[in-house]
Amino acid sequence: MPLLERDDELGSLLATLEPAQGGQGAVVLVSGEAGIGKTSLVRAFLDDARGRTRVLTGACDDLTTPRALSPFRDMAASDGPLERALAAGVSRDAALDAVREELTDPHRVTVAVVEDTHWADDATLDAVRLLGRRAATMRLVLVLTYRDDEVGREDPLFRVLGDLVGPHVLRLRPARLSDRAVAGLAQQAGLRDPTELVRLSAGNPFYVQAALADPSTGVPLTARDAVLARLHRLSLGAQRALERLAVVPGGLDSWLLPQVLGDDEAALTEAEQRGLVEVAGPTVRFTHELVRRIVEEDAPGTALVRHHRAVADALVAAGGDPGRVLHHAVAAGSLEHVLTYGPVAAREASRLGSHRQALISYGQVLAHAAALDPPVRAALRTEQAYELQLAGRHREASEAAAEAVRDWEAVGDAGRVAEALLVLSRAAYFDGGQSAARPPAERAASVLEPLPPSPVHAMALAHLSRLDMLDHRDEEAVREARAAIDLAREVGHPPAEAGALVNLGAALLEVGDESGLARLQEAADLARREGLHETGIRACANAGAHLLRVPRLDDAAGWIELGLLLAADSEVAYGEYHLRDLRAELLVRRGDLAAAEEELEVLADPADDAGVARARPLALLARVLARRGDESATDLLAEAREVAGTSGELFRLGPVLAAEAEVAWLTGSPPPEVDLPGRDAAWRWFTGDRLFHVRRGGRAAEAFPGCPEGFALDLAGRSGESAAVWDRVGQPYEAALARAWSADTDEALEGLAALDLLGAPAASARVRARLRAGGVSSVPRGPITRTRANPAGLTDRQVEVLRLLAGGLTNAEIAERLVVSVRTVDHHVSAVLGRLGVGSRKEAAVRATELGLAS
C-alpha cells in the first residue's frame, strides 16, 4: 500500500537531517494508535535518509521482562562500544555512556529509531532521556515511536517524553486517513462499494491494508476478521508455524527457526508471500505487531504453553537472552529454566538500572522460594528487598528483608545477616519511622562488632549516624559518623565514607558548627569522583536546606542548582523532588511569586505521587495564591495539613503552620494559637515565620530563643531594623511587610508601595485597610495590578497560554512555542479552565474571544 497523506510528517522528518549534519540534532516523537502507520512513516523516512546517513534501528518488545537496553542492543555493532561494555558487565552509568558512544559517528549523521517505546525497559528510558536532552548538540536524529493509547499518565514513559523540551524536539502524530484517500484505495482495488470500507476502517491504515489484502472476499467487519481470513486460507503447516511464531514478540532469529518450527519451517514462505510475515535482518517476524497479537489470541491456550516451552528450550540451547528465556519459561511453567535464568535476568536488569524489570524477575523466581537453596534464596531476597525499597514499596521491602535476615541466620553467615538488617532498617524507616528502623540498625552494629573490620560495618555505622541525625540526636550522629568515616577509610569503602560525611556535615551544622559545610563539600567531591550520584545529591540538598535557614540565599541557590545539575547529568531522579521543593521555597523567599507558583503547581500535583513530601509545596502554594487573593488557597492549605499530619514529622509540619498563620491573616480569619518552637533550625525558621504572620493577624507574639533575626526584630516592634535585615538577606516581601508595620507613616507607605510592586494584591489590600483604620489619610488607591488588568484574573503567562489554546494549538504545541514542558502547560491549562469556570478547551476559547484575548 502506498504511503498516503503523510507528506507533512515526512517533510518534517527529512528537515531534521541538515541541522543534524551541523551538530544540531533532533528528537522526533511519533505517536498514535496501533495501526495508524507510525512504522510506515518511519520506513519511508529511512528509505530517503539511508544513503546520506548511518541508520540504526531497534525495537522494544512486549515481554514481561524485556532485557535492559534491548533496542540499543539491536543497534549495537558487533564488538562496538556497547557490546563490549555489556560483555564486561559494566554498571548503569558506563552502559549509558556506551550507548551514547554507539550512537555517535564523527563523520555522518546517525539516525537511530526506537520502535514501540511504550514497552521500553527502565534502562532504555534512562538512555532515551539522556539522548533526548543531548541530541540538540549531537549529530543525531533520534526517532521514537509509541502508542499513546498505551501510555497512561502514571506510566514512566509519559514522564520521560513529557519532560523533553526544546526547539530540537519534534512531535508527530499521524492522523487517520481521510475518507477520500480510503475511497481512492478501495476503488483502485476494485471494490464495488468503497463507502463500506470508508465506514468500517475509520481511516485506520492497518485495517485498510488488511481488508484490501484480499479484496475478492469483500470487506471484513474488523481488521481481526481480515487477518484471520487470510490465516485460515494458508496450508495447515503454515498455520502451525505462524501459531508458534506468534508467541515470540519481536520475532525470532532465523537460525532458531528449525528448533522452534521443525518441519513446518518451509511453510513460512507461504505466509511471507501472503504478506503476514517478513524477514528483517536476522529476524523473521510478523509484518505488524497487531497481526502477531491476532494470531496469538486465536490459538488455544494449551498450544501456547507448548510453544512457549519449545521457544524457551531453543533459546536455552542457543545461549539466548536471559530475559527472553524467562518470559517463555514463565509462560510455559518450566520451573528449571525459571530458577536458572531468573536470577541472571534480575541481576543484569538491576545492575543496568532496569528496576521495574528486575523486580518482576525477582518476583518470578521467588514465587518458587521453596525450590531454592537457602543461601541462594537469602541472597535473592536481600536483592529483592533493596529493589523494592528503590521502588518506594517500603512495606514489601521490609517483609522481604525480614525473610532474608531469617534465611541468612539459618545459613549462619553473620556478615550477610547484618547486611540484610541494614536493608530492613532503611525500608522500615520509610514504612514505620525511627521506632521501626532503629532496632535492626542497632542489631546490625552489634552483630558486626566482634567481626573483623568490614565495609558492611562501616555502612552500619553510617546508617546509624543518619538515623540519629534525622532524630536530632546530633552529638551521637557526629560520633557515629566519625567512626564510620574512619572505618570506611580503613577498609577502603567510599560509599560508606561519603554517606557518613553527609551525616557528619548535616549534624555539625545543626549544632551550629559551620565546618559542617566543608564536610558536605568533601562528601560531594568524593561522591563525584566515585560516581555516587545519590550521596552527592544528598550533600547538596542538606547544604541548600541549611543555607536557606542561615539565611544565605545565594549560596543556598548555588548548592540547590548544583544538586539539580548532578541529578540531571547523571540521569538520577533521586532527591530531585526535594531539591525542586527547596528551589521553590527560594523563589518564594526572593519574592519571585509568579515563577514560584509555576513550579509549585507542578510539585503539588497529586499525579506526581510524592506522598507526604507534597505537604511543603502545597503549603507554599497556598501562601503564594493567598497573596494574590486566590480563594483556592484555603482548600490547598487544608490538604497540606492533612498530608503533613499523616507523617507526624516536624520538618513537614513547620511550613504548614507558618502557611496557616499567613493565610489566616490574608483571608481575614482569626490568627492561630501560638505554641512552642521545636528543636531544629528548620522548625525555628518556620516558627519565626509563623509568629511574624500571627502578629500581622493582630495577636501579640514574642520572639523565642534562637528566633531568626529578621522575625525577632519585627516581633520586638523594631520594624526598620527588621526590614534592613530582610533587604540584606534578599527577601523583599518580608521587608515590605516589616516596613508596613512601622510607626513611621512614610516608611509604612514605602512598604505598601513595595508590596504593590511584588504583585501581592491581597497583602496590599490588608495593609491599606490597616493604615486607613489607623488614621493614615494619605493611603494611595494603589496601582492597577497586573492581575486586575486581565478581567478574568489570569496571570500574564496564563493569558499567553489561553491565546495559544484559543488559536487551536495542542498542549504539546503550546509547550514547544513557550519552550516549557508539556506537564507545565497541562497545569496552566487546567488553571485557566478553573479560573474561567469552564469545563472544556472549546468553552475556554469562546470565553477568550468574549474577553477580547483571542485574535
Binding site: G22, G23, Q24, P106, A136, T137, R139, G166, P167, L520, Q521, A524, D525, R528, A539, C540, A543, R552, D554, D555, A557, G558, W559, E561, L562, L565, L566, D569
Partner: protein, 123 residues
C-alpha cells in the same frame, strides 16, 4: 586550611555574577556570539557556575577533558575565539574585584584546557 578562592570572594553569589556578566559580554562579542545562537543560556550558566565553583575550590561539578572535548568537538571554535573568551573571562573576574593572582589562576585553568576546546581552523 587556607581559604579557597571560592570562599575568599563570597562563594556562589560572586561566582554566579561573574559567570552571568561573562556571558553578557560573550553575547555582545561579534566574534563569539554566533556559537550561542541555539544554546539554552540558563542551562549553560548553571553548568559554568558549577564548573568555576569547582575550579576555585568550592562545591561544584568537574568536567573531564573527555567530556569537554565531546561537547566542543563539533563547534569549530578557533584559537582566536578562544583567546577572546579568555580576555572576556579575565575582565569579568577583575570586575568582581578578584586579586591578580586569583584571576591568573582561574584564567590559567581555562587556558590549560585549550586542546579540548579548540577544534576549529584558525583564520
Amino acid at each position: 586550611m587556607a581559604q579557597t578562592i571560592f570562599e575568599r570572594y563570597g562563594g556562589f553569589s560572586t561566582i554566579r555574577r561573574v559567570v552571568s556578566d561573562f556571558y553578557d559580554s560573550v553575547l555582545d562579542s561579534d566574534l563569539l556570539a554566533h556559537h550561542f545562537a541555539r544554546i539554552d543560556m540558563r542551562e549553560l550558566i548553571k553548568h559554568q557556575t558549577a564548573f568555576i565553583a569547582h575550579l576555585t575550590g568550592g562545591p561544584g561539578a568537574d568536567y573531564s577533558d573527555e567530556v569537554l572535548a565531546r561537547v566542543h568537538k563539533d563547534l569549530g571554535i578557533t584559537d582566536e575565539e578562544f583567546e577572546e573568551m579568555l580576555v572576556l573571562l579575565q575582565d569579568a573576574l577583575e570586575e568582581h574585584s578578584l586579586g591578580d593572582d586569583d584571576v591568573a589562576e582561574v584564567v590559567g585553568q581555562f587556558r590549560s584546557r585549550r586542546p579540548v576546546i579548540v577544534f576549529g581552523e584558525g583564520r
